[in-house]
Amino acid sequence: MSDIPLPPASLRPAAAARRFRAPTDEAPATRLVLILLAVLGLGVLVLAPLATVFAEALAQGIGAAVESLSDPQAWSAIWLTLLVAAIAVPLNAVFGIAAAWAITKFDFRGKAFLITLIDLPFSVSPVVAGLCIVLTFGANSLIGGWLVAHGFPIVFALPGIVLATMFVTFPFVARELIPVMIEQGRAEEEAALTLGASGWRVFRTVTLPNIRWALLYGVLLCNARAMGEFGAVAVVSGKIRGQTATMPITIEMLYNEYMSVAAFSMAALLAFLGLVTLMIKTTLEIRHADQLAAQRRH
C-alpha cells in the first residue's frame, strides 16, 4: 500500500487532514465526559472515605495515633485478628484445593449442586451466619452444651470467631481455583501418572506449580476478608475486651465511646493491611494474568 504516492497535501480533502476517528470509537468529547465521570465517581465514593480514615487517625498528630495503638487492649485485638486469620485462611485454602481437585478432576453426580452449596455463604448475611454458628455451637445447643460441659466452649471464644470467619470466607479459594483447573484440564496429571508418579507427587510437582498464582490470589482475597470481618464476628465473639475483641470489633467499641483518634488509628492500620493486600493482588494480576481466573469470571 505504501508505494502508492499520496496526493500533495494541498489537494487532499480537508476532512482527511483532521485526525482519523474510527467508527467504533466514541467522539473525543464523549470519551472525556465518561472518563471524568468515572474518576469523579470513584473519587467521591471510594477514595474520599479512604483518605478520611488516615486524616482522622492523624487529626491529633502521629504521636497520638501511635500511642493509641500501643495500648495493651489494642495489642490483644491486633494479635487476635492475626491469629484468627492464621487459622481460618490455611484451613479454607486446604478446603479450596480439595474441593477444586474433586470437582475438576472427576465426574460425579450432583457436581453442580455441590458448587451451589460452596457458593451458599455469599448469599447469607454475615449476621445470619453468626446466628447460625451461635445456634449450632452455643451453650444452649446440643453440640455446644456437650462441648462446654467438656471444657471446650466455642461461642464467645476463639473457635467461634474462627468458624464465623471461615463461614463468610468459605468460597474464596475454591472459586479462584475451579475455573483455572477446568481450563488446564487433566492431561498433564494423567501423563505424570502414566510415567509412574504417585498421586501426591503428581499434585505437588504438576498441579501445584500450575495453580500457585491462582491459589495465592484466592488466599489473599480470603485473608483480606478474614481480617476485616465484622458482622459475623460481632455476633459470635461476645465482644469481651482483651479476649474476644478483634480489630474491627475494637474499632466499633472505641468509636461508640467517642475515642475518635483511637478508633481511626486502628482503622488506619486495618486499611493499611488492606492496601498492601490490594497492591500484591494488582501486581499478581499484571504479572500472571494468564493464570488467574479473575479476568474470566462471569
Partner: protein, 279 residues
Amino acid sequence: MMRRPFVQQSPMPGFGLAMGITMTMLSVVVLLPIGALLLKGADFGLANIWATVNRERVWKALWLSFRLSFMAALFNLVFGVLLAWVLARYRFPGRRLLDAAVDLPFALPTAVAGIALTALYAPNGVFGSVLADAGVKVAYTRWGILVALVFVGLPFVTRTVQPVIEEIDREVEEASATLGASRLHTLRHVILPMLTPAALTGFALALARAVGEYGSVIFIAGNIPLVTEIAPLLIVIQLEEYNYDAAAAIGIAMLLISFAMLLAINLIQIWSRRRIGYV
C-alpha cells in the same frame, strides 16, 4: 439397565480424600450451622415465626433493607458498566490506579468503611458540611444507608462486565457501523445485549451483599426504629436480649427473601442468555 455409578472411573487418584475433606468441612462450617437455624425455626413453629416477623418494626426493617439494597445495586449497575467501559476501552494516564481503586471496597473492612463514611458525611464532615449548607442531610438518614450500600457493592458489576467488554470482537461493531448504524444505536442494540448476562451477575452479587450488609451501615444509619433500622440489626438486637427464637425467625425470613431474589435474577439471566444465544 445398569445404574450409573456415583463417580465415573478415572485414573486420577485422591477422589476419596478430596471429597472427604470437602464434605467434612462444608458440613461443619456451612451446612450444619444453616441446618441448625432451620431446625430452630421448625422447633419454634411456622405460626410463631409468622407472629415474630409480622410486626411493624420487622416489616419496616425488611422493607428498608431490600428497597435500599435494590436502589444501591441499581446505581452500581449503571455506574459499574460505565466504569467497566472506561477501564476496558480507553487509555489515559492513571488508568491502572483507577482500576486498582475499584477493588478498594473489597480490601477495606466494613467497619472501617462505616466509620469513614460517617465521618465524611456527618454534619461537621467534609462532604456533610457542604451538603448541610444545601439543606441535605445524609448521615443518620436513609441516604446514609444508601451511600454505605453503594460503597460495599461498587466493585461487583465492574469486575464481572470488564472482562466481557475486553473480549468483544471489534468486527461486530465495525459491521454494525458499516451497515449505517449510529454509534449510539450500536451501543444500545449490539454491545448492551452482550453485556447483559454479566451485568446481571454483578447486580445479583451486589444485591446479595447489600441485603446482608451490617458493618458499614450501622455506623451511618443512626439506627432509629421504624426509620433507619436495617434487618440484620434486628437480629443482633434480638441476640443481645438472648431471644434466640425471634432472631432465628427473622434470620429465616431474610434467607428466604434473599434466595427468592437470587432465583428470580438467575431466571432473568437464563432468559437473557438464551435470547442472544450466548452461553
